[in-house]
């Protein structure tokens, strides 16, 4: 079974525990993906236009941002491989939900594992709207089953 685990920098423990407990006994081929979200960059470009500047950022800023993003992504994936040592790592750039779906197709994933929303998110962790837009999009569009890993809640029944 080919399992694609989607990391966001805060969820590796949750995902690795789930994969190793729920899918034990399966012959697993694991992959980890971290998507560098290009949304904030798009927003900065729109801001530049508001101030009557070309949307293209200064090369120096672009380079610094790219370096920080890549280092951060690599860091998160390295942390991931410490938990799931045999996993292949992928760094993607773009819209996270779309990139996850695209990679699931390209890599022929049998299962996509991700959290309903980042633990740093301000949204509810249980109840209505507890599934964030990234997870919702992946559930709607992924070409394979999707496993949403939620933290155990004491109030849940």
């Amino acid at each position: 079974m080919r399992v694609l685990c989607c990391l966001d920098g805060t969820n590796i423990e949750q995902i690795s525990t789930t994969v190793s407990t729920m899918l034990q006994g399966e012959n697993l081929t694991l992959a980890l993906v971290y998507v560098i979200d290009q949304g904030p960059r798009g927003e900065m470009e729109r801001q530049r236009e508001r101030f009557f500047r070309s949307p293209t950022m200064k090369p120096r800023h672009k380079e610094q941002m790219q370096q920080a993003e890549n280092a951060n992504a690599q860091d998160i994936l390295d942390e991931g491989t410490r938990y799931l040592s045999d996993a292949t790592s992928f760094i993607r750039e773009g819209n996270p939900e779309r990139e996850i779906v695209r990679l699931a197709e390209e890599w022929s994933a049998d299962l996509v594992v991700l959290c309903p929303r980042s633990t740093q998110s301000d949204g509810p962790t249980i109840g209505p709207k507890s599934v964030g837009h990234t997870a919702r999009f992946v559930v709607d569009h992924a070409p394979c089953p999707v496993l949403l890993v939620r933290k155990r809640s004491r109030t849940s029944t």
């Binding site: 900065m44 801001q47 951060n72």
Partner: protein
Amino acid sequence: MLLFFHIPALTTTLLTVIIAIVTLLGIMIRPFRWNEAIFALSGAALLLIIGLISPVNAFFTLYKDWNIFFFFLGMMSLSALAETAGLFDWLAAQAARLAGGSTRRLFLNTFLLGTMISMVLSNDATALILTPIVYTLVTRLRLPVLPFLFACTFIADTASFLLPVSNPINIIILTRFQLDLWTFLRLLLLPSILVISMNIGMFFLLYRNQIKGRFDSKRLPSTAESIKHPAYFRYTCSVLIIVAVAYITASALQIPLSLVSLSGALLLLSGALKWRQITMKGLGGQISWSIFGFIAGMFVVVQAVEGTGLTEQFGQLLLHLSGGTSFGAVMVGTAGAAVGTNIINNVPMAVVLRSSLAGVQHIAPAARLGFIAATIFGCDLGPNLTTVGSLATVLWLLILRRRDLDVSGLDYFKVGILVTPLMLIAGALLIWLLLL
């Protein structure tokens, strides 16, 4: 060349209004993502060609506003040269160091840093230079980037009426209405502090979950990483301190602020050239030249409309809506400026409003002051309502959303629409109280 023919005044007015509206629509919609300057200059050129404004009138319109053009030039140069010295990187890293590993404190420091930069180097510097630097920093620290991006974007505008130099819009308005520094501070300093505090408070509440926890200070960049040339860096800091003092002195003595910004920029440039930190070509590449065309075009178009008497009538309408009271003036002025800046961007709105207010006769001094302060307040803070610049952009983002694309700009819009009206109301009420 209608100047050579006798044409009815109504036809002249109609043609001028049509050209002005088409120009503003072009700026709002920006078909093919063309630069705004193209529309503003085309509108101005058409008015000149048809003869709806004389070349002499157009020339004197621009000549009167030389302070604005030179201020823009000085302001952009100062920011670019300070950035070359690594000042913004160093300040951001210091803000993170002072946070001592606390994300909440870093969040607060980002606001304070944005306030300081906006106050001295204008909101452009915060929005365009500090934002990518803060993004890089928080990415390195593995913190959620959006709250920090929001913080930079919002504080750029929220802190842009602390001083006359904090936003070029202030200069556009103050060039027409000579407010002395004391009056400016008396009416706008406390509202500014109030809305900055509200902005910080509401953001802490909105992002309480995302900014909890700590970060690893070891991930911070070293001082050597930020400062490439220590001597030029020290020189830049010294010059900027002198510029900050000179700005306040010049505002108090009503000396054109462009003289200060240009002198400061020339001082920094001489240092940068001496230490080979920048070339003239490099500096030229960091200045948005199209902005001068945009402003010049807008000034000529609005002057032509002013010639028809329409802006005066618009001013009278505002006066009528305000009931001639200082309370009405502040409320109508703030609401009009804030809504207008989100429809056609704040620069054209400020140009239209200053022209309209200049035409208003028979108005009580307190109401007049109220209108001026409210125009500055609304045009400066108003853009936070949509943050993406104009209604057209918001509509475009909404269309994208319908196509099932996730757009972060809409997240900004949601925050703006939630936070900004409260700040506008509270600030406007305080301005009114200060007028009493």
